[in-house]
Amino acid sequence: MRVLKWVLKILVQVKERVWDFFDAFNDDKLYVLSKTDIFQKYIDFKIDDIEEFAAIYTYERHDLMGSLDDRESKEKMYQEVYQILLHLKEKGLLDR
């Protein structure tokens, strides 16, 4: 019985991994975000509002990639950058 539970647990984990891969394939994530880069740019840009910074950072990255028309990608990156900064802010790491 214990073995069966263990096998089921492994199967569920594998299933979640496969579903995550499908999600990533569907979303076609072509960029990689670096927390260090975001933090460094946040310090350099001297913008306190994290929403404003996330929008500017997203615009800059998409301008460099030449994909300013890709609205879905911009929205996705904006949300990710915002969440990273929010997490850092809650930890008190963004206090100047």
Partner: protein
């Protein structure tokens, strides 16, 4: 006075759009290409002889396993046409929940094109076995399970995208 960098970007965009337009029209002619360069009796008069037909013809008089150059071209280009179409659709379907399913026709048509190009039509690589049907059924089962298992998340994403678009 206009910025030269902005002008250059606009020119690049125009060129890319023009190339895309020409490319799409050229791809659309692929299933008819065999009619352009060949006729039932052979290569059409006036078409330059580049030696492709001789290159692909074996000692038994078969062209890459086909009875004639015309049939080979038609079969190859119609599969290539389907492959390009599915790849284009997959490239355009970024962010859509069904995008993963498009990998199946892309792989199938790509495999067939590779088979034809490598003259492997008559080999075991082209034989349809029970494994093929099992693979297709299993793939379908996995995708259906994926959709049912993640339907809440996928539907939520769809609603979010609609809100972002409005």
């Amino acid at each position: 006075m206009s910025c030269p960098l902005k002008k250059m970007r606009l020119q690049k965009t125009t060129l890319c759009n023009l190339l895309a337009v020409v490319g799409i029209i050229l791809v659309s002619t692929l299933p008819y290409f065999h009619d352009i360069i060949t006729e039932k009796s052979g290569i059409r008069p006036g078409v330059p002889i580049i030696g492709a037909e001789e290159l692909f013809t074996d000692s038994h008089g078969k062209v890459m396993g086909f009875s004639s150059y015309r049939v080979f071209l038609y079969t190859l280009l119609i599969h290539l046409f389907a492959h390009i179409g599915f790849v284009g659709w997959m490239m355009d379907a970024k962010g859509k929940s069904y995008r993963i399913a498009l990998a199946v026709p892309v792989i199938l048509s790509g495999y067939t094109v590779a088979l034809l190009l490598f003259n492997a039509k008559e080999t075991v690589f082209n034989s349809t076995s029970i494994k093929f049907y099992i693979t297709i059924a299993a793939t379908m089962g996995v995708f259906i399970f994926y959709f049912l298992d993640r339907r809440n998340k996928l539907n939520l994403k769809k609603v979010e995208n609609e809100h972002a678009g409005s």
